[in-house]
Every structure is written in structure tokens, then in C-alpha cells.
């Protein structure tokens, strides 16, 4: 499906910041799943391109004059493969790297117990086991904004039984890793229905022996097809998030 | 040099000067209070608070401006950013960050001064006596200046140190003069009052003898103001401070045209071409407030011109 994207992010400060720097991950790459027809990033200063440690296309935005806000806009069109059976790009790292738990994706306590329920299934029938895991996570954890925030770890969100797509993705990834299934966090866009509508979105990819990386949109209980534009991957949100920044001066940030 | 190092040096200079000026003001208030013929002792201590501000935070901790309350507040109180304790601590902390830029002797002076403050309490201060304590602070400040002048390379580090010293001195002197002049103009000023009060101001800046050397006449308010504002021989005058600030800035600028230089030049010019009669006519307070503001703006501009933290 052809997805049109206009994504604007604005940060505002109560008092001017004197220096700010952002890592932007806002540029989708061509892959087996998607073809980038056009893409443009607008920012208040020249962007410097770099490729991060996970193979993501990234940019650095530096503002070194006093500023009270930062406005970045990403615009473009992407053709997304319709079927859900796409195998994702392997990327620069062997899958085993993605077995590593991070603070946001530890599966201890009740979350660990939950994951362990799928242990047997994962050994015998990993494909179905992961589908069940996805459904199981979504059943356990409601979609509810305002309960968690960007730094909430998987165990916390699971304990709260509520979160947003970022949390669903973290929880799923945490469970996979505990089950010795390599899993990575994905950040991107979810195109709306035919009438438009677009949102920043987070989902996950898990690696199956003999197959490769397959996507799972836990928040929406489906395997991505046609509407998901993949932008960045990593061990968790911190590696793949659209904007991660620092500023000097400038109190009270709001987005 | 690193901007942070310059900043540390600048603040080391400012803090030591601040400590010295505070000791001077307290010492003088103490002396005039002793000499006051009967009554209203608290007026002197009140005027210290007027000069330095901090009424609100003072009254949060103390009931009335008695001698012991004011001295405790301005000498020992670690929560009062203007206290001698805080200034000495500030000087030492800034210096600790720049061990490489200052000589071992300079560090030793600041460190030992700090130990002296750290180990002092109200009882100890009482035993020592305010006069002796203030002399000690002044001595340590002199020693620091002397050791700096004698052991540091007279390079950028030295210039930043001096910038701090003279900006602080200008600010403190202007405030002292502003408050005292205002108080004394509004009071009944007979010749005895004039002699004691203005004499006290002169002693606060160690200019009692200098006055007589220069003017060979009785103490008059106009002349005191002149001495402290525009006489370039007087090392604590605003003119002297402004000249020093410009000189050090010029050496630091290395040919660049800095906004701070322009501001310093403006301040300099105002003091160089001033006439006391015109200033007093237009209002000394107005003039001094402009100087104090000018110093503050200049301080901020230094941050920008030398990439210090804003």
C-alpha cells in the first residue's frame, strides 16, 4: 500500500536553550518490505548524516544559537508490501546479538513466569508460539496512554497491565529473549486506512531459525502488512527512537 | 585556555574580593557602633543589611539586626551566599578545579584560609573578637593577591583572576557608597556626624589617610565621593577598577573586537570624564545604580565572549 507521511515534531522550552543536539531516526530505508518513493527532512539547521550501530539511517541536528523551540518535519511516500510474510533485512549483526536483555527489556518476576509458559511451544512450534505470545501479551496488557512513559521498563508496564505500543513491543521482546529467541524493537509509522491518518508506532521483530526476521505488531495483534513503514531497529526504544536529544539551558521542555 | 578554567579563575578572584569587602564593612560598622555616643547601635548593623541586601533571608532566621545576629549571618552562615564563609568556600572550590592553572602557593593560601573558616564557630568568633577576625580575612586576601601577582605567569589565567577581583570591587564599592550616601544625606548631618560617618566609609576602604594626603582638608561628603568614584590613584575607586578591567580585557582579547571590551570602554569613559558636581546635581544614586548595572551586564557579556556557561 502507498503510505503518505507528514510527521512533525516540535519541542518547546520555557526559556531559550543555548545549545541543543538531537539524534534523529526519521528516515525509512528501502528493504524487502518497502520502497521509498520520496523522502524529505526539514529542520532548522543543516542535518549531518550518519549510520548508527544497528544500521539505521540517522541524522544529527545541532542548534548552537539561543532557541525556544525545535521543529522537525519528515515528509514522503513509501510503498509497503501487502503481505505479512515478509522476511525483514538482517542488518549488520548476527541474530544472537539480540538475545541481550537491556534495562527496558528484562523479563524477571511475573513477566518471566508469563514468558516461561511458552517455553515448550517455542521449542516445538516456534511460529505458532510467537503468534500466541503476541496475543497473550496483548491480552495481559491493555492499550492505555498516560500510565507509562518513555523510560518505563517492560516489567513495570506488565505489572501495571497497561501501556502503549512501545510497552507492548518491549514486553514482547523481553519475553522472546528470555525464551532464547532473538528479538528487536522496531520504530516506524503505521499508515491509517484509505482515508489517511498516520501515527508513529512501535512493534517488534523476532528471529526464527531457518526463516529469518519476522515482524509482530503486538499493540494491534497482527503481523505487519501494507501499512507499516519501518524506520529503525535496535535492542530497545533507546536505540531506535525517532528523536533523542540533549540541551543546555532552556527549562521546561514540552513537546 | 578552557572556558571553564577561565570561569573558575574569574570566580576565585570575585569570591576572595567579596570576602575581603564583607570583612571591611563589618569591621567598620563594628567600630562606628562602638564609638556612637549612646543610643541606636543597631542603626549601623541595619545599614550593613541595607548595603548588602538580604533583608528577607536575614529576617527568616533572626529577629532583629543586632550585632551578633548580623555578624553571624554575614560571617558564619553557610546558607547565606554573601557570607564570608560562603565566599571563602567558593574561592577554594573554584581553585580546586584549577590546580594546574594556579601556583602551589596560591592553592595553599586558599586552602588554609578555608580551613580557618571551616573550623570557626560562633563561640570561636566571640573569643577571637570581630576586629581580629576581620583583620585576618583582609590579611588572607592581601596574601592571596600578593602570591598571585608574585607567582603566577601574567598570562590569560592571571587576567581572568584580576577581572573577577576588579569587577567585584567595583560592584561592592558602588553599593557601599550608594547606601552610605543615601543614609547620611537623609540624617541630620552636623560636623561630628560627618566626621565619624564619612570617616568610617573611608576606613572601610582603607582610604582615611589617603584622603588627608590628597585633600589636606576636613572630611566632606563631596570629596569622599570624588575619591571613591573618580580618583585614579585610589586603588579602590570605581575609576581605578574600570581602568584595570579594560586593561585586562584588552590583553585577553588578542586583537578580536569583543562586546565586553566595548562595554568596559563605556564604563571607563563614564568614569574618566565624570565631574563630581554634575554627578551630585543629577543624583549620585542614579549614577551609582548605572555603574552597578553596567558591571552586571559586563559580567554576563564575559560569559558570552569567552564561551563560559551561560
Amino acid at each position: 500500500m502507498r503510505v503518505s507521511i507528514v510527521h512533525e515534531t516540535t519541542y518547546r522550552y520555557q526559556s531559550p536553550a543555548t545549545y541543543s543536539i538531537q539524534y534523529l531516526r526519521l528516515s525509512p530505508q528501502a528493504s524487502r518490505r518497502q520502497k521509498v518513493l520520496s523522502w524529505k527532512l526539514d529542520a532548522p539547521a543543516p542535518l549531518r548524516r550518519w549510520v548508527d550501530g544497528f544500521g539505521n539511517d540517522a541524522h544529527v541536528l545541532v542548534l548552537d544559537r539561543p532557541h525556544g523551540e525545535i521543529r522537525v518535519r519528515a515528509r514522503g511516500q513509501v510503498d509497503v508490501h501487502e503481505t505479512s510474510d515478509v522476511i525483514e533485512e538482517p542488518g549488520p549483526h548476527a541474530p544472537a546479538l539480540y538475545l541481550r536483555p537491556t534495562r527496558l527489556t528484562e523479563a524477571g518476576g511475573p513477566l518471566g513466569d508469563f514468558a516461561d509458559r511458552f517455553k515448550g511451544d517455542v521449542r516445538h512450534d516456534p511460529r505458532n508460539a510467537l503468534e500466541s505470545l503476541m496475543m497473550g501479551v496483548r491480552e495481559q496488557v491493555d492499550y492505555q496512554p498516560g500510565i507509562t512513559h518513555a523510560a518505563t521498563a517492560a516489567t513495570e508496564a506488565f505489572g501495571a497491565r497497561a501501556g502503549v505500543c512501545q510497552d507492548h513491543a518491549h514486553i514482547f521482546v523481553a519475553c522472546c529473549r528470555r525464551l532464547s529467541v532473538p528479538a528487536r524493537y522496531v520504530s516506524g509509522y503505521l499508515g491509517g486506512e484509505a482515508d489517511g491518518g498516520l501515527a508513529s508506532h512501535a512493534w517488534a521483530e523476532a528471529w526464527l531459525e531457518g526463516e529469518g526476521w519476522r515482524s509482530y505488531d503486538i499493540a494491534n495483534r497482527l503481523r505487519p502488512a501494507g501499512r507499516h513503514v519501518r524506520v529503525a531497529v535496535g535492542l530497545d526504544y533507546l536505540d531506535a527512537c525517532p528523536v533523542r536529544g540533549f540541551r543546555r539551558g532552556g527549562l521546561g521542555e514540552s513537546m | 585556555m578552557l572556558s571553564r578554567t577561565a570561569e573558575n579563575l574569574y570566580w576565585t578572584g570575585r569570591y576572595m574580593e567579596r570576602a575581603e569587602n564583607m570583612a571591611r564593612i563589618l569591621d567598620v560598622s563594628h567600630r562606628t557602633a562602638l564609638q556612637r555616643p549612646g543610643g541606636a547601635v543597631d542603626a549601623d548593623w541595619k545599614s550593613v543589611l541595607d548595603i548588602l541586601g538580604h533583608w528577607k533571608s536575614f529576617l527568616a532566621k533572626h529577629e532583629a539586626p543586632t550585632a551578633s545576629a548580623v555578624t553571624s549571618f554575614f560571617i558564619l552562615d553557610p546558607d547565606n551566599p554573601a557570607s564570608i564563609y560562603s565566599s571563602v568556600r567558593g574561592a577554594r572550590e573554584n581553585a580546586r578545579a584549577l590546580r594546574a592553572a594556579i601556583s602551589a602557593e596560591m592553592w595553599e593560601v586558599l586552602n588554609t584560609t578555608w580551613f580557618g573558616m571551616r573550623d570557626l564557630d560562633a563561640a570561636g568568633l566571640e573569643r577571637r573578637g570581630l576586629r581580629e577576625f576581620c583583620d585576618w580575612v583582609k590579611e588572607r586576601s592581601h596574601l592571596f593577591r600578593g602570591v598571585s601577582h608574585g607567582t603566577m605567569l601574567h598570562d590569560d589565567a592571571f587576567h581572568f583572576l584580576r577581572l573577577g577581583t576588579f569587577l567585584e570591587r567595583a560592584d561592592n564599592t558602588a553599593r557601599l557608597l550608594d547606601t552610605k550616601y543615601h543614609l547620611l544625606q537623609s540624617a541630620d548631618a552636623g560636623p561630628a556626624v560627618t566626621f565619624y560617618e564619612w570617616g568610617a566609609v573611608l576606613r572601610a576602604v582603607s582610604a582615611f589617610r589617603a584622603y588627608h594626603q590628597l585633600y589636606k582638608d576636613v572630611i566632606s561628603p563631596g570629596r569622599v565621593v570624588e575619591l571613591l568614584v573618580i580618583r585614579r590613584e585610589m586603588p579602590r575607586s570605581l575609576r581605578f577598577c574600570a581602568t584595570e578591567v579594560s586593561a585586562h580585557l584588552d590583553l585577553l582579547s588578542k586583537g578580536r573586537d569583543l562586546e565586553a571590551q566595548r562595554l568596559a570602554g563605556e564604563l571607563n569613559a563614564r568614569l574618566r570624564f565624570a565631574r563630581i558636581d554634575r554627578i551630585l546635581e543629577a543624583g549620585l544614586h542614579k549614577f551609582l545604580v548605572e555603574v552597578i548595572d553596567g558591571v552586571a551586564v559586563l559580567g554576563n557579556q564575559l560569559s558570552k565572549d569567552f564561551m563560559m556557561t551561560v
Binding site: I21, H93 | L2, A100
Partner: protein, 472 residues
């Protein structure tokens, strides 16, 4: 335990030739003079300010590391053997790091299981594909050596991230020369004070391609509260370069800059003494205030060189240590000239069985931790402690390795009872630049001042000695 080898007397009792001058000096000097000189030494160290903050104690709790005035002496031949062996080892480790962050041939060849590397937290995905200047990853290596007899040294541990202690090596020599000038004129001791010059040469040699003709080097320190702060200031001063903290640096235009009073100044090479996690809050630990936001992007784009490189921890981790002889063979086609301490990997079933049966004789070490705390010293342990470790090993076999207790060599040292032998080790500092490897003769000798103690860590009661390498 085998007979302990004493560096002065060997096992036979006669004075070994390297120690001849020292022996004479000890015999000829009256006891009081030594006591006096020892006090002088302490005062000198205090004045220099070479103190350190002990972790866990309140800020401002600064301590001197005890210095013992009897030097440890190696002759030229002994040092030459060590030097060649150290060069070989560091060369192989640099090749390993390059390989593991590029084509991973050693994993493809099955020499090390891939998962051992990829699941190791010290392996940094951010280094994948990064080309570093001169292919040098370990610019400064501290290789800890122990000696068990006349001819046998072992590598105890590799330190390839932010090894410290070289300032002690230099100050120890300076103090010894001030206190005992005649001792030095009687012996022919190779100098060490050119270390800062060699370090600077090495750092400048790895300037990135975009650097100007005169590359700018700076030392990045976490600040005065760090236990090794003295060393950071010392080295910056000796090299004549700026000592910076994270807040002094900023990223712009794909380059790294310093905030100076003359405006922004480019920095080409950073000798960083902060750990990987603290380097860039936009890439690693978000709450770290010690690093520079944006630094990783400049590094990956080749705009700045970091010494030591990011991600070296994968090569000095205790779980990789047993493989180092295999690395030397794989990359250089040679046998290691200095061997590892014989090591049992608890992850290996056969090794594990042996270890569990011989807990009382072995030293058990954790594979990811800092020295001296999470260890079991078999012969000194209680039954409870051994049982505790049995449980730990069985629960997480990959987390432990074991080594036989070594009878470390001893060296005469001043103690309460007079002069007595105490166990020592040696940390030479190996510098790698674009033009090759340089090692300043000797290194830091650490001594366990408590009788029979094998723990030389300064944070646990160890001290240091001057290390002499004789010119013949």
C-alpha cells in the same frame, strides 16, 4: 604450594645478580636512615598530592597508596623476553578487536563460540564496521604479570579499557631518584620518564584523516571526584595537552570542539579516562553527565579518534582470557611467548567437574567484575564460602573461571618487623600507535604489604615499588 621464588634471593638463598646493588645498599645503610627516608618519601607523595579516593568512602577521604622504597629489579635479558611477549600479545589483541568488529573470521573459524562474543555486554554493537585510525583499538594496555620462578612469568590479566597506575610508576621513580641519588649512580637503570612523550606520540599518530597537520589531543576526565584524577591531571600536564571534562566539549558540523576563551577549538584525539557507558548520553547511558552528547556520531563518521576505542571490554573480559593463546595462534601463527595462568572454564563440563572437586585448591573468579571482590581463594576459604561458590558455579557456570593458586614471587619490603619478603606483581604499560608498539622499561610493581597476602590491589591494602630494568 610450591616454594616461593624471591626476586632477591631466588630459591637457593644467594643474592640474584640483578639485586646486587640493592643488596649492598641495604647492607650498608643504617636502619635509622631508612626510617627517615621512608618518612621523607611519604611527605613527598603527600605534597605532590598523589592521593586517591577509596570507593565507598566519603568524598574528601583521600589516601596515599603506600610506597615501599626497596625497588624490584629485572635485568635486561629478563625484560627483553617480557617486552617481546607483551608486544606479541597486544598485537594479537588489536587484531582480534578489529576482526570481531568487522568480518569476524575468528568466529567463522569456530575458535571462539559466536554467542560468547555476541551475548557479552562488553561487545558494543556501536563499533560494528567502524574503521579506527591505524587499526589500533588498544592504545594503552596494562598487562598484569606475575612471576612464579626464575624463568616463568604468566599473564594474570589484560586491562584494555582505561588502565591506570602509570603516574605511580613515574612518581615512584622521581621520588627514588630524589631520595637515593647515589643508589642510581651505582647501578645502571633504564629511564622511564619518557612515557608521557611516547604516549603523546602514540596519540598524535592516530589522528583521524580530517585532522589538521598539528592534531589536537586532549585528556577527558570524569573530574576531581574520580579515584585516578591525579593521574589524569599529571598526564595532561606532562604531555602539554588540555585536561577536559565532558562539559568542555561539544559536537557540531560532524566534529568535536572544545570551549576555549579564544572560541571553539577542534579536538582530534581524545585520550578518554571515562568508561564506554558514559561517553555519549544520546547513545549509551542517558543519565550520564560525564560524556559528550553526539560523540558517537562523530566517532562513527571518523571525525575523532578515541583512545582507547569503544568496545575493548570484549577482549579483556575474563571469559575471553582463556582464549588469548588461541588468538595469538590464529592471528600471528605463533605460540604465546608469555603464557596465561592455567585456567579452567567452568562453562566447559570437564573443567567444571575438576573445579568443583578442587575448590579448596583453586582461585575462583567471576567473568564480569572488577578485581579482588568477587573471588574465592580456595586455600584461605571456609567450608561455607566454598559451598556458596559451589552453588554459584552450578547456577551460572559461564560466570566463572578457576585458576590454581600461584605462589607469586616475593620481594624484600619494609614492614613492621624490619625487611621481609612480600608478594608482588607487575603491570607494564604497552603503547600502540600507527607506527608500532612502545613499552617503557618496567612498569608498576604492586606489592601485597600484608604478610602472606596475595592481594595487591591498592583499594585493599596494597602498595607499590619502583621497578628497575637494568641496562645490562
Amino acid at each position: 604450594m610450591a616454594d616461593t621464588f624471591d626476586e632477591m634471593h631466588g630459591t637457593a638463598g644467594a643474592v640474584r645478580s640483578p639485586f646486587a646493588a640493592v643488596k649492598r645498599w641495604l647492607a650498608e645503610t643504617p636502619h635509622d636512615a631508612f626510617a627517615h627516608k621512608r618518612q621523607e618519601a611519604d611527605l613527598m607523595f603527600q605534597r605532590i598530592g598523589i592521593t586517591f579516593n577509596v570507593y565507598g568512602q566519603s568524598a574528601g577521604a583521600e589516601r596515599l597508596i603506600p610506597f615501599d622504597i626497596i625497588p624490584r629489579v629485572l635485568n635486561a635479558a629478563e625484560w627483553k623476553r617480557l617486552s617481546v611477549g607483551l608486544t606479541q600479545r597486544v598485537k594479537a589483541l588489536n587484531l582480534f578487536l578489529k576482526d570481531v568488529y568487522h568480518d569476524q573470521e575468528i568466529l567463522k573459524a569456530g575458535v571462539i563460540p559466536a554467542e560468547q562474543i555476541l551475548r557479552n555486554d562488553m561487545y558494543r554493537p556501536e563499533m560494528r564496521g567502524v574503521d579506527v585510525a591505524g587499526d589500533v583499538y588498544v592504545h594503552v594496555a596494562g598487562i598484569d604479570l606475575v612471576r612464579v620462578d626464575e624463568d616463568r612469568f604468566y599473564v594474570l590479566e589484560d586491562n584494555l579499557r582505561t588502565p591506570s597506575g602509570v603516574s605511580y610508576m613515574l612518581e615512584n621513580r622521581a621520588v627514588m631518584m630524589r631520595l637515593f641519588p647515589r643508589l642510581f649512580s651505582g647501578a645502571s637503570v633504564a629511564p622511564v620518564d619518557h612515557y608521557p612523550q611516547e604516549l603523546l606520540r602514540c596519540l598524535r599518530s592516530v589522528a583521524p584523516p580530517r585532522a589538521t597537520a598539528e592534531p589536537v589531543v586532549a585528556v577527558l576526565t570524569p573530574g576531581p571526584l574520580n579515584s585516578a584524577y591525579f593521574e589524569h591531571t599529571f598526564l595532561a600536564e606532562q604531555m602539554g595537552v588540555e585536561l577536559v571534562e565532558g562539559q568542555d566539549l561539544f559536537v557540531q558540523d560532524d566534529l568535536l570542539w572544545m570551549r576555549t576563551t579564544d572560541g571553539p577549538r577542534r579536538v582530534d584525539v581524545i585520550y578518554r579516562r571515562i568508561d564506554d557507558d558514559s561517553l555519549d548520553p544520546l547513545a549509551f547511558k542517558p543519565e550520564s553527565l560525564l560524556g559528550v552528547p553526539g560523540l558517537l556520531s562523530v566517532y562513527r563518521n571518523g571525525g575523532v579518534t578515541l583512545a582507547n576505542a569503544i568496545g575493548n571490554g570484549v577482549a579483556d573480559d575474563k571469559s575471553i582470557y582463556p582464549y588469548v593463546p588461541d588468538l595469538i595462534k590464529f592471528y600471528l601463527g605463533e605460540s604465546p611467548l608469555i603464557e596465561n595462568v592455567p585456567t579452567y572454564r567452568c562453562a566447559d563440563e570437564k573443567d567444571r567437574m575438576y573445579v568443583l572437586e578442587h575448590l579448596g585448591e583453586l582461585v575462583i573468579k567471576e567473568t564480569q567484575g572488577s578485581g579482588g571482590y568477587g573471588m574465592l581463594i580456595g586455600p584461605r576459604s571456609t567450608r561455607e564460602e566454598r559451598e556458596k561458590f559451589r552453588g554459584l558455579i552450578q547456577k551460572d557456570p559461564e560466570g566463572y573461571i578457576a585458576q590454581p593458586t600461584l605462589a607469586l614471587s616475593t620481594c624484600p619490603s619494609f614492614v613492621d618487623e624490619g625487611i621481609a619478603p612480600r608478594h608482588i606483581d607487575l603491570r607494564p604499560f604497552v603503547l600502540s600507535g600507527r607506527d608500532g608498539i612502545a613499552i617503557v622499561p618496567g612498569g608498576l610493581t604492586r606489592v601485597a604489604l600484608t604478610k602472606d597476602s596475595l592481594v595487591v590491589n591498592s583499594s585493599q591494602g596494597g602498595g607499590t615499588k619502583d621497578t628497575w630494568v637494568l641496562r645490562e
